[in-house]
């Protein structure tokens, strides 16, 4: 398997490389070293503006820049970009549908030692409620780069979610990999159960599929990197084929990918849907791998939930 890298690192690199090709500004709120926009700041100091520890102002400033016809990235931790500044995202960016790209890092439980105040498990749920918001949760380095470029080309607001824990670059090993906003990626075809995952959970979903295969269970694994707009066609057609679905996300099971998939299927093709995610609890400090065990964000849990989903057919 390829070298592991945190998607926040890939985000910073993408800004740097794409900064040569596209015209955009970058804002941060005193976290440039952590969100990795600092790499862009070093390379393009005249295009980077630190907003200090004032996320609400940063998001509305970004809206003002976009209102002058320019493209702008605004970065902070997911907790502050989507949480603290939710209302600014909604009213300054979402309502006028402005061309702001929010790069939110340190999403989910894999933040680790910083603990609950910084482990954002709600951002996808919050962003999903904003009409016209595109939401992307990339799984790896290749996908992060592609997502940033797609966001630049997309006309309108985009929320991108990046993590701080290293992940394998699955997309780089997939010969036919192609990124398109709103289009899922089938990593493995199967017939007994569908595993829909994104972000950190995609490689664990593939591990779970191997555990299932050892018992003769054929799992289809789909990476739904774009939570909104959701790839309805792909998810419904897979559910029709397998008749059971498990979702896996590093987010509260309320309001995220699992909820989006359950909403879709309950209206279009009801099948058992079981959600793997943070079970409506706050996070805590600890080593990432230990926390992933505690919160059930593991291949083993996906494997077990897949068997339960199949049993409910």
């Amino acid at each position: 398997m390829a070298d592991k890298k945190a998607t926040r690192e890939s985000y910073g690199q993408a800004l740097c490389e794409l900064g040569e090709k596209y015209d955009f500004l970058v804002l941060d709120a005193d976290l440039a070293a952590a969100t990795k926009t600092g790499m862009f700041k070093k390379k393009f100091p005249e295009r980077f503006f630190d907003c200090g520890i004032a996320e609400g102002n940063m998001i509305s400033v970004a809206a003002g820049i976009a209102a002058t016809g320019k493209t702008v990235f605004a970065s902070s931790f997911a907790m502050f970009a989507a949480g603290r500044a939710f209302e600014q995202v909604r009213n300054s960016i979402g309502y006028p549908h402005l061309n702001v790209k929010i790069g939110a890092t340190h999403a989910g439980i894999t933040v680790g030692e910083d603990g609950a105040t910084h482990q954002c498990n709600e951002d996808i749920a919050l962003m999903r409620t904003i009409p016209g918001m595109v939401i992307i949760s990339p799984a790896d380095a290749t996908e992060s780069y592609a997502a940033v470029e797609a966001a630049i080309k997309h006309e309108g607001p985009v929320y991108m979610r990046f993590g701080r824990f290293p992940v394998p670059d699955l997309a780089s090993e997939k010969a036919d990999y192609k990124f398109e906003i709103g289009k899922g990626v089938v990593y493995k075809e199967g017939s007994d159960v569908t595993i829909v995952a994104n972000g950190y959970m995609v490689h664990l979903a593939l591990e779970a599929a191997e555990l299932l295969a050892a018992e003769g269970i054929s799992a289809e694994v789909i990476n739904i990197h774009t939570v909104k707009p959701l790839d309805s066609e792909l998810i419904v057609s897979s559910a029709k084929k397998t008749g059971a679905v498990v979702t896996a996300e590093e987010h509260n099971v309320i309001g995220g990918l699992g909820s989006a998939v359950a909403d879709l299927l309950s209206e279009n093709y009801p099948v058992p849907v079981i959600k793997v995610g943070v079970e409506d609890r706050f996070g805590q400090s600890g080593k990432v791998l230990e926390l992933l065990e505690i919160y059930g964000l593991t291949a083993k849990n996906i494997y077990e939930k897949a068997k339960i989903a199949i049993s409910k057919k």
């Binding site: 500004l25 102002n57 509305s60 400033v61 809206a63 003002g64 600014q88």
Partner: protein
């Protein structure tokens, strides 16, 4: 300012006040008090100060205006109509289902509106973003934003104040409408945000305090703002809430309600008398 020009601006501002009353009366709700208090400043901006073109409302080098106290949309709509961005008849559609004239300004719907606002504190930050964009790209347009005195209780206003001074946004002018009243009463009783002049100076702003209803003072303030380099300018405009309508002046109950028919007639008579006096 020459007498004839001053009279002309006073007449236009009075027309804007009539537009405010007509639209709010037609809507049956809205915010007349704070709209009337900014009528003179917003008239000066749209008729004298800003580089704008009603025939080309999105021209790239236009000056930008952000009504941070977005609930005073009736004043913005009335001045845009007076300036020819759309027909005055449309003012009567304010707040009606399907209308472009939403209760708070919607930049997607109305020609001449540069930013959607309404949630207090957000507009001045967006104005900072516009001014920063002009600096970053070497554009020479200027950015103006009217902030309410009650609005200045929002923490984000001070985040923006810090930002504008830090990035030396001398192409930004914030007009603080100091009418002294907010929904629950006098600003000093509800949550005293004063003294704005000392606070803004401490934040690094150039501060000018004027009578919001004196066009000579308004002209002098905007002229000074153009000359000051390296820092943003705040014009603290001491105004009368409900200015021009006898029973609304300095009455906080007229912050957010429309007059019924009898009081609507009184308001139109009051403004008619002012129009007569300006002939």
């Amino acid at each position: 300012m020459e007498f004839s020009e001053k009279r002309s601006l006073e007449r236009l501002a009075n027309n804007v006040r009539i537009g405010i009353i007509e639209s709010v009366y037609s809507a049956g709700c809205g915010h007349p008090g704070g709209s009337l208090s900014i009528a003179d400043v917003i008239t000066y901006l749209y008729f004298k100060e800003m580089n704008i073109d009603p025939a080309d409302p999105k021209k790239a080098d236009r000056d930008r205006f952000v009504l941070s106290k977005g609930h005073c949309a009736p004043a913005l709509y009335a001045v845009l109509a007076e300036r020819g961005f759309f027909e005055k008849d449309e003012l009567k559609t304010l707040r009606k289902t399907g209308a472009r004239l939403q209760g708070h300004p919607d930049m997607k719907g109305i020609p001449g509106v540069d930013m959607s606002t309404g949630s207090l504190g957000l507009g001045i930050s967006a104005a900072c973003g516009m001014a920063l964009s002009a600096k970053a790209y070497g554009d020479d347009y200027r950015v103006y934003s009217i902030v309410g005195d009650g609005e200045s209780e929002e923490g984000q206003v001070w985040e923006a104040a810090m930002f504008a001074a830090h990035y030396k946004l001398d192409n930004l002018v914030m007009i603080l409408d100091l009418n002294g009243l907010q929904i629950d009463g006098s600003i000093t009783e509800v949550m005293n945000p004063m003294p704005h002049d000392e606070t803004l100076r401490a934040f690094g702003w150039n501060v000018i305090v004027i009578d919001a209803h004196d066009f000579d003072a308004i002209e002098a303030a905007f002229a000074e703002a153009r000359k000051v380099k390296g820092k943003p300018t705040a014009i603290i405009a001491k105004s009368v809430k409900g200015k021009g309508v006898s029973y609304m002046e300095n009455k906080c109950e007229w912050h957010g309600q429309a007059p019924k028919e009898d009081l609507y007639r009184v308001a139109i008579e009051d403004l008619g008398r002012i129009a007569e006096s300006l002939k």
